[in-house]
């Protein structure tokens, strides 16, 4: 088994740790760093529960080998926060819009939504649907999730 040394920044904290070549970024985040907010849904790239932001881009962490994230900056749901310990505006919007049912898809939805809003602060409804196309919600709460991303955009607009 090949062992590699992974240097990675997660939610602003630098880490250096040994990983095997076959470890996925998802396994590294959950099993090594114990950041279990990122969920393992299907482990084959279909569901988006494992979405994290890698160098500014939302990716499915079950489809990234950990060593491929060497040198990368990763944001996970644990890194989301607002001012003075409050929720991030995207999280607040999900709560207020009732965009959470069982909650398993929520960390991935939040990260896909944040990556979208970081790149495009005023997305159209169609752009929101496209950005969330890789995130499945089995409680079928899509309309409220889309409404939450629209609400988050307006909250972030007011903060600028």
């Amino acid at each position: 088994m090949s062992t590699h040394t992974l240097s990675i920044t997660v939610n602003g904290h630098p880490y250096t740790a040994p990983v095997s070549g076959s470890t996925t970024l998802l396994e590294f985040l959950r099993d090594t760093l114990r950041l279990t907010g990122t969920k393992n849904g299907c482990a084959e790239g279909d569901c988006g529960a494992c979405a994290v932001i890698m160098n500014g881009q939302a990716v499915k962490s079950c489809l990234v080998l950990a060593i491929q994230a060497n040198g990368a900056s990763i944001e996970t749901v644990e890194g989301l926060h607002g001012m003075a310990g409050s929720l991030h505006p995207v999280q607040e919007a999900f709560v207020e819009a009732g965009a959470v049912q069982c909650g398993y898809c929520t960390p991935g939805m939040l990260m896909s939504a944040k990556a979208l809003l970081d790149a495009n602060p005023a997305p159209t409804r169609e752009e929101i649907r496209t950005a969330l196309a890789g995130n499945l919600c089995r409680c079928t709460g899509y309309m409220k999730i889309i409404a939450a991303v629209e609400l988050a955009a307006s909250k972030l607009e007011m903060l600028r």
Binding site: E44, A51, Q57, L63, I67
Partner: protein, 288 residues
């Protein structure tokens, strides 16, 4: 996941040396096929080589009427390229139709080709653009038309020790339009039931060149030679397109699978062909 040795290639020279030493190593790029295939036991590599750090395989270079695309260029980069949107819309549209934005950010053009799925979305677009591949090994390089590279489902002409380095095609002229269409079970995260790409060149309302490629309707993507020959020198109008579309059956041999039946595929194939030809024609003049 099934355990394998992984080596990270630092640059092209290192990659070619690694491949010369272990010609049967499995190359990993975007890993969006690699990880699910290994998890499912479809691929059981002893050694994998990660090439995502090989900078020489990134980038898109227009030169002398051709454009050359590095094999590590992602689907997001293809669909977001203003140059490709304008000059080779079929390729940008096909890249945008793959999976979802999170996967498109990782999945590469080289991976989509080398996985050799009969339903690969960007392959029909590259067929009608006349794409050629640059294949490298430590001894040198060779060029191969994409159509000669894809042999069957999951099978390519890649030799042990070789890597797909770049894809190139002639930049279409202003008298040309290209388009791509996909029929899937849903808009995102759907493997194509069928897909199609077309290239149409007109001169004063007459078709001077035409290429049509269909995917997921045969063991590999196929060019429809009978349609192309029929349309050559015809007037560009609804009647000639409708007549030509019936000739797709000379090229396709669809099968039943989990996504659709062979009879359904036979029913939609001429419709898809006709629509993509119309769209390609409508893009002429808007594309350069």
């Amino acid at each position: 996941m099934f355990d394998f040795e992984l080596v990270v290639a630092r640059d092209l020279q290192h990659l070619l040396a690694l491949l010369a030493h272990d010609p049967d190593a499995r190359i990993v790029a975007g890993a969006t096929d690699f990880i699910p295939f290994v998890n499912a036991g479809k691929w059981r590599p002893r050694l994998a080589i990660d090439i995502t750090g090989v900078q020489e395989l990134r980038g898109c270079w227009p030169a002398d009427g051709w454009v050359e695309i590095g094999s590590l260029v992602t689907h997001s980069e293809l669909s977001g390229s203003a140059f490709l949107r304008q000059k080779a819309a079929a390729l940008a549209e096909a890249a945008a139709a793959v999976a979802d934005p999170l996967i498109r950010a990782r999945a590469t053009i080289g991976g989509n080709i080398c996985t050799a799925s009969p339903a690969a979305d960007i392959v029909p677009a590259l067929f009608i653009l006349g794409a050629e591949l640059t294949l490298l090994n430590q001894a040198g390089s060779r060029r191969l038309p994409l159509s000669a590279f894809l042999i069957g489902p999951g099978k390519t002409a890649l030799r042990p020790g070789e890597v797909l380095a770049a894809i190139r095609f002639p930049v279409p002229t202003a008298r040309t339009g290209t388009a791509f269409l996909k029929l899937g079970r849903r808009q995102a995260m759907a493997i194509s039931v069928a897909n199609a790409a077309a290239f149409v060149e007109l001169d004063d309302g007459r078709i001077t060149a035409c290429r049509l490629a269909l995917g997921a309707l045969a063991p590999t993507v196929v060019r429809c030679a009978a349609v192309e020959a029929y349309l050559k020198n015809k007037r560009w109008n609804a009647a000639s397109l409708a007549e030509s579309a019936a000739l797709v059956f000379e090229a396709i041999c669809p099968i039943d699978d989990v996504r659709a039946s062979a009879s359904y595929r036979r029913a939609i194939a001429p419709q898809l062909a006709q629509r993509v030809l119309v769209e390609a024609g409508e893009k002429i003049g808007r594309q350069s």
